[in-house]
Every structure is written in C-alpha cells, then in structure tokens.
C-alpha cells in the first residue's frame, strides 16, 4: 500500500520502487560562531537495487549526509524515509563502510566479519563467515589481525562485515579514497561483482569523477556552501564499463564541466 502511494510522488524511472526517499533534508550545526548550514533542502530518491554515487568536493557535506542516512545524526529539517519509515538511529538495515579504518583492532579478520552476526546457531554463523571471507578473497588471511594486513584488505573486511548482515541499503563514504590507484580499481571491480550478485541498494560517496562514472547508475552532484544537490546525471553505459572508452570519458568531461560551472 504505502509503496504504491510512494510511487506516485518523486522523480524516478517508471517502475522502480524507491527504497530511500529524502525530502527537504537540512542539517544545521551550532558552532561557536553561530549556526552553520551544512546541508540545505536535499531532495532525492534511491530505487531498490540502485547504485547511486554522491559526487562532491571535500567539505560539501557528504559525510554529514551519510551520517543522517545512517542515523548517527538527526536532521535539522526535512526527513529521510527508508521503505516509508523515518530513519531513527543506527541499525543493521543501513550498513556503513567508513572513510576511516574502523575495524576492531583486537579481533582477527574472521572475528571482525562475525562481529554483527547474532542470534544464529554457532555452526551456521561459522559457515556464513567463511562464505563471506571467501567472497572478498580473504580466506588465507582469516586469522590475521587488522594491523597485519594492507589497506585494501582492510576495506575488504569492512565490506564483508556489513554484507554478511544483508542490509537493505549500503552506505559507503569515500571507502577507497585512501587506496592506491590499482587497489582502488580492484575494490571497485569487487564491489560491482558483489552488487551484481546481491543487488543491494548502494549510496556511494566519492570526490573522484572517474570512480563515480565507473560505478553509478546515477550520479548526484553536490555543491558546497551550503551543501545541496546541484545536478543529477544518469550514467547510461553498459557494464562492465571500459574506462578508456570515449563514451566513458565523455561522461567524465560532462561531470567535470558541471562541477566547474559557477552557481
């Protein structure tokens, strides 16, 4: 019922059920020098199984947006609905892959992946963990501690520990920003292949144009001061996408020009 009603509102491709609906979402921080509007009147929807990239310069409020969607922060105005229900507080239906390294340093790779799995019989849990270890290609490293593995491997663990919880929506905050170019591309490919398998809804934050074009169904371009959605671009390229193809480069150019456009 509710979903059908929702279908009648908002901007989206016909037939796609929105998972996430953001309406006039704003965030104002109170600081020593008075209130600062970091996000103003954000409006967008994300369809079920859609891969959205939020592209914007650093400091435009991307992390703040993600914190609102994750439930770490409360909006100052407007609302964010997940499957028609307002987001209230963090929970395993909206999993986050953070910008920073947030693995638990006292747990092994395997234990980190098992961390959020609860209420499952021990044997089943063990099998699940081994399965997801395998999915991200870390089986040989299951007993390593986070400090003993590389940055790229840590990101794989961060991904596996949330995928195992089967979230409705995956929130990723510049997850590969700190990796070298090769590791980043590897991770992008891994993420896409997992997405092909599971069809999660993904909101992926980045400041890297190439990354956005390589991954997204749709790119939401953010502007700064105050943070707002400036433009929306649908990337109509078949997957797997060839980064060197002229059509790929055209999208990058167009996005680049949109970013440079004075507003």
């Amino acid at each position: 019922m509710t979903t059908q009603l929702k279908l009648l509102t908002g901007k989206r491709e016909a037939g796609i059920v929105p998972t996430l609906e953001v309406t006039r979402l704003s965030k104002v921080f109170k600081t020593g020098e008075g209130p600062v509007t970091v996000l103003r009147d954000l409006d967008f929807t994300v369809g079920k199984g859609e891969f959205i990239c939020v592209l914007g310069p650093s400091g435009c409020g991307k992390t703040t947006l993600l914190n609102l969607l994750a439930g770490f922060e409360k909006p100052s105005a407007g609302k964010a609905l997940l499957n028609g229900r307002p987001i209230q507080g963090p929970g395993p239906d909206r999993c986050v892959v953070f910008q920073e390294d947030t693995l638990f340093p006292w747990l092994t790779v395997e234990e980190n992946i098992a961390f959020g799995v609860n209420g499952v019989p021990k044997k089943e849990k063990q099998e699940k963990v081994l399965h997801f270890l395998d999915l991200v290609g870390l089986t040989p490293f299951q007993d390593y501690l986070p400090r003993e593995i590389s940055g790229g491997m840590k990101k794989r663990v961060s991904l596996a520990r949330v995928l195992i919880l089967q979230p409705q929506i995956l929130l990723m905050d510049e997850p590969f920003g700190a990796l070298d170019a090769q590791a980043r591309e590897e991770m992008q490919d891994l993420l896409l292949s997992l997405w092909n398998q599971f069809h999660h809804t993904i909101v992926f934050i980045t400041h890297d144009i190439d990354e956005a074009v390589a991954l997204a169904d749709r790119v939401l371009l953010m502007q700064k001061d105050p943070g707002a959605i400036a433009e929306e671009t649908r990337v109509r390229l078949p997957r797997p996408r060839e980064r060197t193809a002229a059509s790929f480069q055209d999208y990058c150019k167009a996005l680049y020009q949109s970013i440079k456009k004075p507003r």
Binding site: P90, P92, C95, T102, F104, W106, G116, N118
Partner: protein, 266 residues
C-alpha cells in the same frame, strides 16, 4: 642490530648482569670488610638466613620456617586490597572516561585525594580500623585505586567514537557495546593501571604490616629490625621483590588468557 634481538642468548643474559654485578660487589665488600658486617652481612650469611626462614623447622631459630605462613598472609592481604581497588577503580574509571558529567563529578575530588601521600592515612586508619588486617586492607585498596582509576579512564576516553558508530550500525549498542567495544578498546590502559596498582599494593602492604601485626612479610622485617637481624631484613626485601614480580607476571598472564584484547593489543 644483532644484539638488539630479543631471543638471542644475549637477550636472556642481559637482565642478569646487573644483579650479578651487585652480588659480586656485595661479596667483595663483605670479604674485605669494607662495610662492617653488623650493618651489611655477607651474601652467604643472608642466604643461610633465607634458607632457614623458608625451610627451617620451628624451634631452629626465631624466624625458622615462618616464610610460608607470612607469604600466605601477605599475599592474601595484597590480593584482597587489590581486588577491592579494581572493583571500584575499573567501573568508575570507565564511567568517568566516557561520561562528561561523571568526569566532572569525580575527577576534582579524586585528584585532590590522590595528592595526599598514602602514608598520611595510616594514623587515621589505625584509629578507625585498629592494628592489623583491616588497616592494611584499607591502605592497599586506597593506594591501588588511583592508578587503576586514572588509567582506565584514560583508556576509556581514547576509544574512537568511530568504533562505537561501527558497532551501532551493526546493531551492537549500549551494554553490549561496553563489553564488545569499550572494554577491549581500553584494555591496554586497564592492564597498565592494574599492574601499577598491584605494584603499589605491595608497598602499602608493608606499610600496613609495619604497624605491628603478628604475621606477614612486613611484620617479619619489623621484627627483624627490633632483634637487630639485618640478614632477615634483607631476606624480607628480596622475597617481597620476588613475590611482587611474580604476581605482576601472573596478573599479566591471567589477563592475557582471559581477554583477546589483552593478548593482542599489548
């Protein structure tokens, strides 16, 4: 560098150099009577006194065979006082490390109390608790509380808020987060606090026992002083050093066995 390697034969050998030199110096000093033997008996004399103290049959001398009871009683006092300190120090430390209001409520008072040298409590404790077990317990618990509290609070404070966010988005919050994230994250500091606390427990044990209790390592040292038995005083000091070191190793080992975080982060 080769000699920096921990496991080489040099590594095992180095910690013993200083004690060996010390004993050699001591031996020479007494051999050539640089220090009169009524002030500093020879190593041989002290060794014999120690063996008699530990393994002698009662009746062979005033201290013969007393060691086991003394050690047992002293360890019990240290353990009880230390446990009491940990029981209050860890939870209060965690609270004041994580809750701003708790920190404001506690820290000024605790820091003021901490500025008072422990020995100042002795007269008061003797009036309140009399001579013996309860005074010793009070002194040990009080002295051990501060390092445990302070280090636990520092450890709890520095656990990254991002780890709590990560836990929360995976559905681990509140009390479960305390046990799954806060305590493991603070474990290195908690371990440091407990070790410092245990170390200071031995110091205050001796202070408590010096007031005149029938048994205990501190009591033996005091008795020996009154009887002019320097050799037994030295035996007592050496035994307290050994017991202190052993209990420290046991504490670290126990925490490492019980907690992954203690094993893997320290």
């Amino acid at each position: 560098m080769a000699f920096e390697k921990k496991n080489g034969w040099m590594g095992g050998f180095i910690p013993w150099v200083l004690p060996a030199l010390f004993i050699l110096g001591w031996f020479l000093a007494s051999r050539f009577e640089i220090v009169p033997s009524y002030l500093m008996p020879s190593p041989k004399q002290v060794g014999e006194a120690g063996i008699l103290y530990a393994f002698g049959a009662p009746g062979e001398g005033p201290f013969a065979g007393r060691f086991w009871l003394d050690a047992w009683v002293s360890c019990g006092r240290v353990f009880a006082g230390f446990a009491l300190a940990a029981l209050f120090g860890v939870p209060l430390g965690v609270l004041s490390g994580r809750a701003e209001s708790m920190q404001r409520f506690l820290s000024a008072s605790i820091n003021a109390l901490r500025a008072v040298p422990g020995i100042c409590w002795l007269p008061l404790a003797m009036v309140w608790f009399g001579i013996g077990y309860r005074t010793t317990l009070f002194l040990v618990a009080l002295a051990a509380f501060f390092p445990i509290y302070i280090n636990t609070a520092a450890g709890a404070r520095q656990v990254s808020p991002l780890l709590f966010q990560a836990g929360a988005m995976m559905g681990v919050r509140r009390l479960r987060a305390v046990f799954a994230i806060l305590l493991p994250g603070a474990m290195p500091n908690i371990l440091t606090g407990l070790r410092l606390g245990l170390g200071i427990s031995w110091a205050y044990l001796v202070l408590g026992e010096l007031t005149g209790v029938p048994n205990g390592l501190g009591a033996v040292i005091m008795d020996a002083r009154m009887m002019g038995r320097i050799d037994i005083i030295i035996v007592g000091i050496v035994l307290i050093a050994l017991l202190g070191r052993t209990s420290d190793l046991m504490l670290s080992g126990l925490l490492r066995i019980c907690f992954k975080s203690a094993r893997r982060l320290t």
